[in-house]
């Protein structure tokens, strides 16, 4: 699972107007579907929602990392959205979320590679410079570069 195939400029949204969790996840899933990562968006969305019900993926610092493992995923993919208006995500630190990183993992993926990616992104979030780059990125290409550095 290389970062080249995982990341795609088409799945990065800079100024989403989504006003709640489900809306932004749906918006990101549509991008993943369009970019050829998904063949069953509904199934994938169900797996993401199930994960959210288990425990919030709002990990603090204004970031959420929703993720789902589903047969509706063709190949592993990552989508990013930055919201115009921060929304509540039930985060550990109580802060509203501005940046959302959505990870799609195929059902057949037996390994723990996606966990490694999530762990790696999580560690990066501790560094203020990384968080700032996600907020300040002027283009999808900027964000892509920032995310690449985290994987």
């Amino acid at each position: 699972m290389s970062s080249q195939t995982l990341l795609n400029i088409e799945t990065i949204i800079l100024d989403s107007s989504a006003s709640d969790r489900k809306a932004v996840i749906k918006e990101l899933a549509e991008r993943l579907q369009a970019a050829g990562y998904l063949n069953d968006e509904t199934a994938f969305l169900a797996s993401v929602e199930a994960r959210e019900q288990h425990a919030s993926t709002g990990i603090g610092f204004g970031v959420a990392i929703p993720h789902g493992k589903s047969a509706g995923v063709i190949k592993p993919g990552l989508a990013f959205a930055r919201l115009a208006q921060p929304i509540d995500w039930g985060s550990l630190d109580g802060k509203p979320v501005t940046s959302i990183i959505l990870l799609a993992i195929p059902e057949s993926d037996a390994g723990k590679e996606h966990l490694r990616i999530l762990a790696s992104v999580s560690r990066k979030l501790i560094h203020e410079s990384f968080r700032q780059e996600l907020l300040d990125g002027q283009s999808a290409a900027d964000i892509l570069e920032t995310l690449e550095s985290a994987l």
Partner: protein
């Protein structure tokens, strides 16, 4: 340099475990503090802390919402918070951990100085293992000793009547509590060295030391042996990941117990038995030569290993002579067996600053056991600091044994301590015999007081 360790974990193990780890590492780097973080997440355990690292660490930060095997850190200063605190407040946690270290260092300083004087840094480690064993053994010594003494109150041979309360007391105190003493000493020495995996071989080694008549010195040997064997096996055995799980539950217990057991039976047990046989034969030959020399020797043997081969040879020899109506050596042996716990009790009274609070309390109990001729009361002191305590007990007991022979005291019962003295005609030259015991105890107390180093007042 103060080294810190941390463990992070969260229930899902996806993000916060790693965020807390990163947060702490970043702050530690900024502060220039060496820090290693063990992460227990969905990926499994990463950067697992080794026992060496834990031993070296000054304090450990636990930023965790799940079980992190905290028993590993017994005796170490611990800062325990939730994983969120690890993400939010790394600076505060690291400062707290460093501050704890400072408080700890003050208390530990005198011990470190002592280690320097002795010219060995290993000694603090060995001393710590020994103390772990001794402090876990101590309650058994106290309970067993007092219960045996209670059975003597019913008369010194009362326990020989089966089905009576004194018999029950003897089997609780002597048959059970005292039987566990050396296994527990050995087991917890090994536990201190190798953590949980040391316990099984340590207990088994201690039980063998006890059964083979190797006494508490044998138990100390088996404890260290078991601890280091288990620790070595953990590092030496490399298994594929899929089999890693059976290592701690199958491979290490079986191999470590087998190695320690075989070593105890063949390397320690055989020479101990040979030694006892030689000593018994030798003592028999010595019997008629010189009463003072015999008393001196029997006394020294009684106090040297307190239940080990020398002690047993001396005791068995004296008991054997009772059948031939020779009662002098029995008196010498009992005087010498009462002296070590009595002398140590006296030492804790006259030199309070050389003993910890725990030892001073144990001293009072040792005094009672001394009166009842339960030499084991001295074992916790001897096991904790053998090189300073044993010379003192040997000297005092040798003096008591020799004086008893010089005064011509005789004793017709093989046990009972002060309880026997009350029985008419069981002991001859009663006043002089009591004096021999008192003088021997004073010699032990003074010698031990002179040899022992002062304890820090905080203890």
């Amino acid at each position: 340099m103060k080294k810190l360790l941390a463990v992070t974990s969260c229930p899902t193990g996806i993000a916060h475990t790693y965020m807390a780890a990163e947060s702490l590492l970043k702050m530690a780097e900024e502060k220039g503090v060496p820090l290693k973080v063990e992460k227990r997440g969905a990926l499994g355990v990463e950067d697992e802390l080794t026992l060496e690292e834990i031993a070296e660490a000054h304090a450990i930060i636990l930023a965790a919402d799940t079980d992190v095997l905290e028993s590993r850190f017994a005796g170490k200063p611990i800062i325990k918070v939730g994983v969120a605190e690890g993400i939010r407040n790394p600076a505060g946690l690291i400062e707290q951990a460093l501050a704890k270290e400072a408080a700890q260092a003050q208390a530990a300083a005198p011990m470190q100085e002592q280690a320097k004087k002795e010219g060995s840094s290993v000694r603090t480690g060995a001393y710590k293992h020994l103390m772990t064993g001794v402090s876990n053994m101590l309650p058994l010594v106290v309970a067993g000793g007092i219960i045996i003494a209670i059975s003597f109150i019913f008369g010194i041979t009362a326990f020989q009547e089966e089905g009576t309360l004194p018999a029950a007391l003897m089997s609780i105190g002597g048959g059970a509590a005292f039987a566990l003493m050396i296994p527990i000493l050995s087991g917890f020495i090994a536990f201190s060295i190798a953590d949980r995996i040391g316990l099984a071989p340590g207990l088994v080694g201690g039980m063998l030391a006890s059964q083979l008549g190797a006494g508490f010195l044998g138990g100390i040997i088996s404890g260290f042996l078991a601890g280091y064997v288990a620790k070595w096996l953990r590092h030496a055995i490399k298994l594929p990941k899929s089999l890693e799980g059976i290592k701690p539950i199958l491979i290490i217990p079986v191999l470590s117990t087998l190695i320690v057991g075989l070593m105890m039976v063949y390397v320690v047990g055989t020479p101990v038995k040979t030694l006892m046989d030689i000593l018994t034969t030798w003592l028999t030959g010595l019997n008629s030569t010189n009463a003072i020399l015999l008393g001196l020797l029997l006394g020294a043997m009684m106090a040297f290993d307190m239940g080990g081969p020398l002690n047993k040879a001396a005791y068995t020899f004296a008991v054997g002579l009772l059948a031939s109506q020779v009662y002098g050596p029995m008196a010498a042996v009992m005087a010498a067996g009462m002296t070590p716990p009595l002398g140590l009790w006296l030492a804790t009274v006259i030199r309070k600053n050389k003993f910890s609070k725990e030892e001073r309390d144990a001293g009072k109990v040792a005094g009672v056991m001394g009166l009842a001729f339960i030499t084991e009361g001295a074992i916790p002191f001897a096991a904790a600091d053998p090189l300073r305590v044993i010379p003192g007990t040997v000297l005092g007991s040798a003096v008591a044994g020799a004086l008893s022979m010089v005064f011509g005291a005789t004793l017709q019962a093989p046990h009972g301590g002060a309880f026997v003295l009350a029985i008419p005609n069981a002991v001859t030259h009663l006043g002089a015999y009591a004096a021999a015991i008192v003088i021997g105890s004073v010699v032990t107390a003074v010698t031990v007081s002179l040899l022992k180093k002062s304890k820090p007042t905080a203890a």
